[in-house]
């Protein structure tokens, strides 16, 4: 039992309390300890997401592979064959698949966390637990999904090796988890900002639907950043904090990519700011969102 308040009452007797419910908390009162206490719940939510999603489906988790596979094929036709956009001299199928894999992780983190309050209103209205547990569980269950899709990419790389396209396995692979974390941070940060705002104004959910779609075209997924340098839109796409992450991801895998320590630092600081902002606004909203949702 943690004592959170110790005070003296009117008759000058000491009192201690383990919980004080007040209208508002401090802006950076994250209560990480409380989230840690609910870690079992975090894992159970991850498990629930995973088990429940594919109950009564024939292919089960294989669906995770079908989506990136088909998107890759479409991209191969559309951007590779028809539009003839170069792929930084990376084998096109690997180029597209790598971009789609890392983009999928970001976009699913963002879209799922952005509806945290609306989709879970019925649970949130009945019991208290640290609300942050839910978006965190989404980030975690998406990491599993990312792992599966990355496995597919890995198999594809091996397959290409047997068919004459050599990729080097370098020490840079150890940076991949860091890049995934960067994506997770940005997805979570943006997601919780949006989920906090949507409790009152639902417009943002609709907006987000196509913002994510358009966002993909403002990120070097279907084209390399180097391709734009000759066109002059490079500044615009470089301003997107996701671009260096995607380019760096490709560099780690295939040794090709346009980024620098500076642009990565830019992404990192963007992540920190949006995450901090997200936590502050999420904390404010979580206490009384039930009145407005």
């Amino acid at each position: 039992m943690n004592i959170v308040a110790l005070e003296t009452n009117k008759e000058n007797k000491p009192e201690f309390w383990t919980e004080v419910i007040t209208p508002r908390t401090g802006i950076l009162d994250i209560r990480l300890g409380e989230i840690w206490k609910y870690r079992d719940l975090l894992w159970l939510f991850v498990k629930r997401d995973f088990v429940a999603q594919y109950k009564q489906t024939v292919l089960g988790p294989l669906w995770h592979l079908i989506q990136p596979l088909f998107t890759t094929i479409i991209f191969l036709f559309l951007f590779g064959r028809i539009a003839n956009i170069p792929t930084d001299s990376i084998k096109p199928i690997l180029f597209y698949m790598s971009g789609i894999t890392i983009w999928n992780y970001f976009s699913s983190c963002l879209t799922s966390t952005s509806t945290t309050f609306i989709t879970n209103a019925n649970i949130f209205g009945k019991v208290y637990f640290p609300r942050m547990v839910l978006p965190l569980s989404i980030i975690l269950s998406n990491i599993v999904r990312f792992g599966i899709q990355f496995g597919l990419l890995f198999i594809m790389i091996i397959w290409c090796r047997f068919h004459g396209y050599m990729t080097h396995f370098t020490i840079y692979w150890i940076y991949i988890p860091f890049l995934v974390l960067l994506m997770a941070g940005m997805g979570l940060g943006l997601g919780i900002v949006i989920s906090s705002l949507t409790t009152k104004y639902r417009d943002l959910v609709i907006l987000l639907g196509f913002a994510v779609q358009l966002g993909m075209y403002a990120t070097p997924i279907a084209y390399p950043l180097s391709f734009l340098q000759t066109k002059g839109y490079a500044k615009l796409v470089s301003a997107n904090p996701l671009s260096p992450v995607v380019e760096c991801f490709r560099y780690c895998l295939f040794g090709k990519g346009t980024f620098s320590a500076g642009t990565l630092a830019y992404s990192f600081s963007f992540m920190l700011i949006i995450l901090l902002f997200g936590i502050v606004i999420f904390n404010r909203v979580e206490k009384s969102f039930m009145d407005t949702v």
Partner: protein, 459 residues
């Protein structure tokens, strides 16, 4: 030398004395586990969306300049029967009370008085607008059982998930798993997805998880409205155990006065968002009953807490004796007339009119139901503006006490007027069996017609 050492001794004694006082204080104060101070909660009426941006901006502007939120100064009292005059309403206003350790506190009040808002704040699903609550110990709330149950997951998985949502750790759930399954009585189906469960099994499992939480403070809201009678008894029994043997504190909200009376030691009455009365539970229930009968001094015409399309509206009522003489109360076994005056304000032709009366006892249990469609006496046509409905009841079979009537009318299958607890009346002890003997008090709520026969030998 001697002097200084005696001063040392005095110091030591003084410190010891202070310490013992501190220990006594710790013991003295340790029995209050919930302290509610000046608690208020404001809600905005109507739609959220239109106009809320401008209010938000105005609010920010005030807070930015270090001023008080302008919308906290306004706000009407939470009175459901009066029409809202203000966009903001105080669901709770300056509520203060304390709960001692091991106390079972019943919270009573009419619908919309603010009971649930209070419980929501206590269980931290929403936050207060002003004031604060100080709590000592772990709180668990059963605002609705089965929260977070996922239909696709098996009973086993759901026990773990629900347990964790309610604040249990995995080892804790593992330890109690067998007990939970036993209590629920669904051991056979534990690995079946809960979407295949009957609603009864679902509720049993959900309640079983909740009942095995070990909080210091348990908040219960109307969960007993579910399940069959046997299971409800089991739940009440479990809650009694929890409070009496394990010394846990329970806050209990229900409209079932019998359950409250049975379970609680003390009560508070909440009226229009304020604590109207606190005392022992018996006192509070009595106070509540008197209080709700004062409501009935409002003529039926002026009652606003009604629903329906209003084609046929109840405007007033009268009780009459068999000979037509007006009366305020009845006697057991008397032949009585209930007269309902109702208005067809739009003066249109109403067809197929059904009128029903529900009679409740003071604990809110429905005693009986009177309905002209059950006796095939549907009123086929009403075209006049003013109408009188006379209901004759012979040998009134109610035991002495206070009762409440809910009146209801339906025109052509649509609800036209419905006022809950519209009329209250007393039944005085009387000579029901025409034997010159009065009906004893406290022996149930209704009387039967019966006949005793006696025979020699076993027949």
């Amino acid at each position: 030398m001697e002097l200084s050492s005696s001063i040392e001794w005095r110091k030591v004694l003084w410190i010891l004395y202070k310490y013992s006082q501190f220990r006594t204080n710790l013991r003295l104060m340790s029995d209050i586990v919930i302290k509610v101070e000046n608690l208020s909660k404001q809600y905005k009426l109507g739609d959220i969306g239109t106009g809320s941006i401008s209010h938000d901006l105005n609010r920010w502007w005030h807070i930015l300049r270090g001023k008080e939120d302008p919308y906290l100064k306004i706000g009407a009292e939470n009175d459901r029967t009066a029409k809202a005059s203000n966009e903001y309403v105080w669901a709770l206003k300056d509520v203060e009370f304390e709960v001692k350790k091991g106390e079972v506190l019943g919270i009573i009040g009419r619908n919309g008085a603010g009971k649930s808002t209070l419980l929501k704040i206590l269980s931290r699903t929403t936050s207060p607008t002003k004031g604060r609550i100080k709590i000592r110990g772990k709180v668990a709330s059963l605002l609705e059982v089965g929260t977070g149950f996922h239909p696709e997951l098996s009973g086993r998985d759901n026990i773990f998930l629900n347990g964790a949502i309610l604040g249990m750790t995995k080892p804790e759930i593992k330890r109690k798993f067998e007990e939970i399954v036993d209590f629920s009585g669904v051991a056979r189906y534990i690995d079946t997805p809960v979407k295949r469960y009957s609603s009864g099994m679902y509720v049993r499992l959900a309640f079983a998880v909740a009942a095995h939480l070990e909080p210091d403070i348990l908040i219960v809201d109307e969960v007993l409205a579910v399940g069959d009678a046997e299971f409800q008894k089991k739940c009440l029994g479990k809650m009694k155990d929890v409070s009496q043997q394990e010394g846990r504190t329970i806050l209990f909200v229900s409209h079932n006065m019998a359950a409250i009376q049975n379970l609680c030691s003390n009560g508070i009455l909440i009226k229009n968002g304020k604590v109207a009365f606190k005392n022992t539970i018996t006192e509070v229930i009595q106070h509540y009953n008197i209080d709700s009968s004062t409501l009935k001094t409002i003529p039926l015409v002026d009652r606003l807490d009604r629903s329906g399309n209003g084609y046929l509206k109840f405007s007033s009522f009268e009780f009459r004796k068999e000979n037509g003489e007006k009366t305020d109360s009845f006697t057991c076994g008397e032949n009585i007339k209930i007269i309902l005056f109702c208005k067809n304000e739009k003066k249109i032709e109403l067809r197929n009119v059904m009128v029903a009366i529900g009679i409740d006892d003071v604990y809110g249990n429905r005693v009986t139901h009177i309905n002209n469609s059950l006796t095939n006496q549907i009123i086929n046509k009403i075209s006049e503006e003013k109408n009188t409905i006379e209901i004759n009841i012979s040998n009134l079979p109610l035991t002495p006490g206070k009762y409440e009537m809910t009146v209801f009318s339906e025109v052509n299958g649509e609800i036209s007027d419905w006022i809950q607890n519209a009329i209250s009346f007393f039944v005085e002890p009387g000579d029901y069996y025409k034997t010159g003997k009065l009906i004893p008090q406290g022996q149930g709520t209704f009387l039967l017609n019966y006949n005793f026969n006696f025979y020699n030998g076993f027949r």
